[in-house]
Symmetry: C2
Subunit: 226 residues, 2 copies
């Protein structure tokens, strides 16, 4: 039987574009604008146009002038495999090498581009087939499938709601360090005690202590309600 699994190789730069389009496509209907990609990658829109044309020829994205880009099914698979690598490496860094969750991103950005199927499948096994990365994000399996768990932004809950913290939206070092300082982290039980209508800030109970957090903080924390 002739299997036409494309054995195309992508440069680091191409992989970064593919990954970015994938991330921008979540919670976004329709094509992603070149400007949005440029902003995310801290590059210029003209560079994006060039790259997007190339990726379009490689059948990774669908691109019509002035209409933004969307990933093809093939492109989604490629993106998932990059994200899988990124998140597995993050688990490795935290679980095995004593990195804290705010230190892993930069290194994982490099490690995700290493080409070796055996490396990734063995790493997966070595780590015990983890299902989430250190920020609570799901790790795609070898086929690119990932099961997003049921979760809600803390800022969308109402008084009395309770649940366990299962993820963060912002993964910047500043935000994660702030969470560490406040004792907020994955697996912690959180209950909404009070919501201030004026600024949307809220008082939450975590480990028997009440804590006031801004709406911005709350809208970067994911809770799995119980």
């Amino acid at each position: 039987m002739f299997v036409s699994e494309k054995a195309v190789m992508f440069s680091q730069s191409e992989e970064n574009y593919i990954k970015t389009v994938y991330h921008l496509s979540i919670d976004h209907e329709g094509g992603i604008s070149t400007n949005a990609i440029a902003k995310a990658l801290e590059t210029k829109a003209s560079s994006v146009t060039d790259m997007v044309k190339k990726l379009s020829e490689k059948e990774v994205v669908i691109y019509k002038k002035y209409q933004g880009v969307t990933l093809t099914d093939f492109g989604k698979k490629v993106a998932a495999s990059i994200i899988r690598k990124h998140r597995l490496w993050e688990v490795f860094l935290v679980d095995k090498l004593n990195f804290s969750w705010d230190e892993v991103h930069e290194v994982a950005e490099q490690l995700e581009h290493i080409k070796s199927p055996k490396l990734i499948s063995e790493l997966d096994a070595f780590l015990g087939f983890p299902k989430q990365d250190p920020h609570g994000d799901p790790i795609p399996d070898a086929d690119g499938n990932m099961h997003q768990i049921e979760k809600k932004l803390l800022s969308l809950l109402t008084i009395g709601d309770e649940g366990v913290c299962v993820g963060v939206d912002d993964t910047s070092s500043e935000f994660l360090k702030f969470l560490d300082k406040q004792g907020i982290g994955l697996g912690k039980m959180i209950k909404v005690i009070e919501i201030e209508p004026f600024d949307g800030s809220l008082v939450i109970r975590i480990q028997d202590k009440d804590l006031s957090i801004s709406n911005k903080i709350a809208s970067n924390l994911y809770i799995q309600k119980i």
Copy 2:
């Protein structure tokens, strides 16, 4: 006090050149020719000339036209740090991810370029501060020092000599697979039983069995005499 530790960054390509010059400098007096570097890197001499000029400006090598290149002390430190990374990753792949010693090189070639001091120091600790890589080559410490153990090529021993196999010179997959097939590997006791004057082949005793190997094989195996 003003410390002038150069915080220069090198591209993957530059790192590959530096590493190659280092390897070619072992057992070689004087400058390394651009041709030799070109051969080792499977590139063209003209490309080497260009790169060598650049590395010379960065004070990594000393280069005078038509006279080959030598690493500066700084260049040697850079080379040692790349080799340290390469060999630590090889240990990781074999000890933790079930790679065999003939599979590690290609992946380590990629991993050695990852930039993160913390990653390497933590990896070193995680692996238990190994002193040799899976082929018996020494792993430089964080300062670039490495202690080569006392060893001799098997082909240079005489009848009756005995010792433990501590390294291989050729690390190609073909050679290493051959060794696996013959039951030859690091840590194995080897005794020279017979030497055939005609072709330099020799009969060795390993694990109570006698084995005939060619001179070429013997000149790629390092023995630590007892």
